[in-house]
Amino acid sequence: MATTTGSKPTKNMNLKLLVWRQMGAKDKGKMVEYKANDISPDMSFLEMLDVVNEQMIHKGDEPIAFEHDCREGICGSCGLMINGVAHGPDAGTTVCQLHMRSFKDGDEIVIEPWRARAFPVIRDLVVDRSAFDRIIAAGGYISENTGNAPDGNAIPIGKDVANDAMDSAACIGCGACVAQCKNASAVLFTSAKIAHLGLLPQGEPERIDRVLRMVSQMDAEMFGSCSNEGECEAVCPKEIKITNISMMNREYERAILSNKK
């Protein structure tokens, strides 16, 4: 749950920002200092950046590029390292749902993009996360063509199983798990999809192929290995559990042992 408490700071604050600026993929990039003054504690973190960007546009400077869209914590577009922590100080929260009441007047805030070999920087705080799409394309689905489906109630699925599958399926693909991991490993992301589909009876027929193909794609994308530190779980805005990783490992062992190909 959020660390937000009932007490509401009401005074506006002045902050110092240190932001990673990089013109393009080939540019070297550097940290640049900005002032964010008169910031309301009720603003979201991204609204604070909006204010800073507007001031820059008025001065004729190029605003800080960052990804965002729904601003409700569900699309997975936003993602910043804030003082070294993916999505910032509040647990179970995306940057867009992080509010400035989590900071105090005079704070210095360091803002960086996701740092991972598999997520190259495109500009400033925007990175390329298409590797995640390729992991899903490798096997993160149930092979069912439209029109094949039996009645929705034909296969009863226990409430607990459905709940567990939903817990895993809640992943928003933001990449915080990779960004926080010292190995830049994508196992939490990959395992969440393997668990979601593997837990359900519909996913049973492709269990073996799915885990083999997704893990192999994950490796091909140059994500690192898991060394069980659990930093991914700690920063996941959807609180996806590392038990998904154990399940993926079991699925993988099972697949290796039973693979007849």
Binding site: I57, G60, C70, R123, S130, G140, Y141, N148, I155, A162
Partner: protein, 669 residues
């Protein structure tokens, strides 16, 4: 555009076999009736779709791979269409401005998806879902489309379950349902408060499977800027590569726009920040009629505005109204803490005004009632622009744990944004713009007025009339993509001899030049005001004059203000950076320019529609009880607008014929 109003009687002059009538109120408005063919099949409404499916031409399986289809947008409609058409064997090129198709705004839908499964044995049926949807839309939708939507709703649930969508289940393992506004049965399927996310991921995964197989070619970070026409048919698009800034063109045999709605014309809305009208608007400028643009839905349960830095509004699912009770103090100006207001001094205004539906009246009715309470000075919170949504009774009746299981993530989100705990203090909510029923005009086959250009999902206008019921947007997006377009596109492709179109043709080169020139023009203005400032100003004009309540004087004033705003935009906008790089400021400015033009059309449409229906509430037309007063004699039509190069657009009327449902004054009392 400047608008002059007169009350003269209409003068008729027939031409081209159509009757051209001078409109009684708007000077210079040309009206055409009888030219729009919706291609609705004959026969009883329940048999139309089956009959049509048999009568449509088919494309032989081995010929399907010879056809190329462009799909713009990868939300529910786009992703489901891309996956299904690729499964059938077509070559699909899918475009999104996001970094991944999984980010489309469908993902944010919370509450659920309707389907006439009648699993609850509570009297639901295809006919009842159809009836509720037509009534909910205040009799301004096309009957045949709405019936088909209700019919295929049952297949959608089966399809999604088969894909592994983790819908909520009962203890016995069967699918669970909840209730939504505008219905007296439980027909809404859900996956916690993340139904849109799970349905989108299902469609996205099916599409990525086809990407892996090479049947879908995926183009991310591309924004459509123009539609390319060859010999009067849609044959391609031009896009801006958002990373390199390059203008690229693509050719195909048909183009599907699945580009969502235009709520962001109000600046503050529950839509994601990138949602925009550009693709649909530029198609409109190439000849696609825009239908009922003034039908915009205001959702009753959103978190109120907190400051002038606000960048968007956050919706709280309508499902909350299953257990939450909406109230304001009875007395004007009562500023006491909600805990200190005794039961007898509270006005549960929805339960009082609409005893049969209570807190579950449709969205337009609930929103207007909340606005009324605030207009009377009984609004709560610092701004007075909010009403309470109270769970105290539900917590007492069900216990905290049950309430948490049902709405935990929504309470969590509310708590996070407002720093108030809704388990202890009633939520404060206020209506916000959420969905647009209007969109590109389409016929029964989902084809726009441009041959070969189709519009699916929220981008079209067809199924919801003047007001959409909750949990029906997901239903429509998936119905169009999974179960309608796969049939109707075949009929178009098989029925038309389409010569090969390649991007070498002059039309493509011209589209690329035009798109580039527009970008260069934006960068060359070098004015003083940012795109965001223009967008906020536009939003205020729209919210104040073309928002929850509209009137003639306000609309005329808005049209003048919008005309000035447009002129100022092109004189004074300040866009920084370059054309050949990732430039979010430029992307935004380009979208705002199109929103301003759309806004003029919305105001004109609202001015023309001299009745109140669904979400379109004209203050001049209300019943003595303050409800919307329709005028079925004059306005039982779809208003489809044809672009006229910036001059007064031409109004094409599609008369709405209700063969099945007897239309009456909508009542939820």
């Amino acid at each position: 555009m400047s608008i002059e109003i007169t009350r003269e009687t209409p003068a008729e002059n027939g031409a081209n076999g159509n009757s051209h009538v001078e409109h009684p109120t708007i000077v210079g408005l040309k009206v055409v009736t009888g030219d729009l063919d919706a291609k609705v099949p004959d026969g009883p409404v329940a048999e139309k779709w089956e009959k049509h499916k048999f009568e449509m031409k088919l494309v032989n399986p081995s010929n399907k791979r010879k056809f190329n289809l462009i799909i713009v947008g990868t939300g529910l409609a786009g992703a489901s269409a891309a996956a299904t058409l690729a499964e059938l064997g077509y070559n699909v090129q899918a475009f999104t401005y996001h970094d991944s198709p999984r980010r489309a705004h469908s993902i944010a839908a919370q509450g659920g998806i309707n389907a006439a499964k009648n699993y609850q044995n509570d009297g639901d049926s295809v006919y009842r879902l159809f009836y509720d949807t037509v009534k909910g839309g205040d009799y301004r939708s096309r009957e045949s489309n709405t019936y088909r939507l209700a019919q295929v709703s049952v297949d959608i649930i089966d399809q999604c379950v088969a894909q592994g969508v983790p819908f909520a289940r009962e203890y016995g393992g069967y699918l669970d349902n909840r209730s939504f506004g505008g219905a007296q049965v439980s027909r809404t399927f859900y996956a916690r408060g993340q139904t849109g996310q799970q349905l989108l991921l299902g469609a996205y995964q099916s599409m990525m499977r086809q990407v892996q197989r090479g049947s879908v070619k995926l183009f991310t970070r591309r924004e459509m800027l123009d539609l390319v026409m060859v010999d009067g048919a849609a044959r391609g698009i031009s896009v801006r590569n958002l990373v390199t800034g390059e203008i690229e063109t693509y050719a195909a045999d048909a183009v599907l726009l699945c580009t969502g709605g235009y709520s962001n014309v109000y600046f503050l809305s529950t839509n994601a920040k990138y949602c925009n009208v550009t693709a649909a608007w530029r198609a409109h400028k190439k000849g696609a009629y825009f239908a009922n643009p003034c039908f915009t839905q205001i959702h009753p349960t959103c978190i109120p505005v907190s400051g002038d830095y606000q960048s968007k509004l956050t919706l709280m699912s309508e499902s909350l109204r299953n257990d939450g009770r909406v109230w304001v103090p009875k007395a004007v100006g009562d500023k006491r803490h909600p805990d200190e207001i005794p039961e007898g001094e509270r006005d549960y205004f929805l339960e009082r005004r609409y005893p049969a539906f209570g807190n579950l009246v449709p969205r337009d009715v609930a929103s207007r009632a909340a606005k009324l309470a605030c207009d009377e000075g009984r609004g709560v919170g610092e701004t007075g622009l909010a009403v309470y949504l109270d769970f105290a009774d539900a917590i007492e009746r069900l216990g905290v744990e049950t309430v948490k299981a049902r709405y935990g993530n929504l309470f969590h989100m509310y708590h996070h944004i407002t720093a108030e705990d809704p388990y202890k203090v009633p939520m404060r909510i206020f209506p916000a713009v959420h969905y647009t029923m209007g969109g590109l005009w389409v016929d029964y086959n989902l084809m726009t007025s441009i041959p070969g250009l189709f519009a699916l999902g929220e981008a079209n206008f067809s199924d919801h009339g003047a007001n959409r019921l909750g949990a029906s947007a997901l239903m429509q997006g998936l119905a169009d993509g999974y179960f309608v377009i796969p049939y109707t596109i075949g009929n178009y492709l098989a029925g038309n001899a389409l010569p090969k179109a390649s991007t070498d043709r002059a039309e493509f080169k011209q589209a690329a030049l035009d798109s580039q020139e527009k970008i260069n023009t934006l960068l060359a203005v070098k004015g003083e005001k940012t795109a965001l400032e223009f967008h906020r100003e536009l939003g205020l004009i729209m919210w104040n004059h073309v928002g929850m309540a509209r009137n003639r004087a306000g609309l005329i004033e808005a049209i003048g203000m919008l005309s000035d705003l447009k002129a100022e935009f092109w004189r004074n906008v300040k866009v920084v950076g370059e054309a050949n790089n990732l430039n979010q400021n430029l992307e935004h400015a380009s979208r705002v320019a199109d929103f301003i033009e759309l806004a003029e059309l919305m105001a004109l449409d609202a001015l023309n529609r001299e009745e109140s229906c669904g979400a379109h509430f004209r203050e001049e037309y209300e019943t003595p009880e303050g409800e919307a007063m329709r005028d079925d004699e004059e306005f039982s039509y779809v208003a489809a607008w044809e672009y006229q190069n910036g001059a007064m657009p031409v109004l094409h009327k599609e008369e709405l014929v209700f063969e099945e449902i007897h239309i009456s004054q909508r009542s939820y009392k």
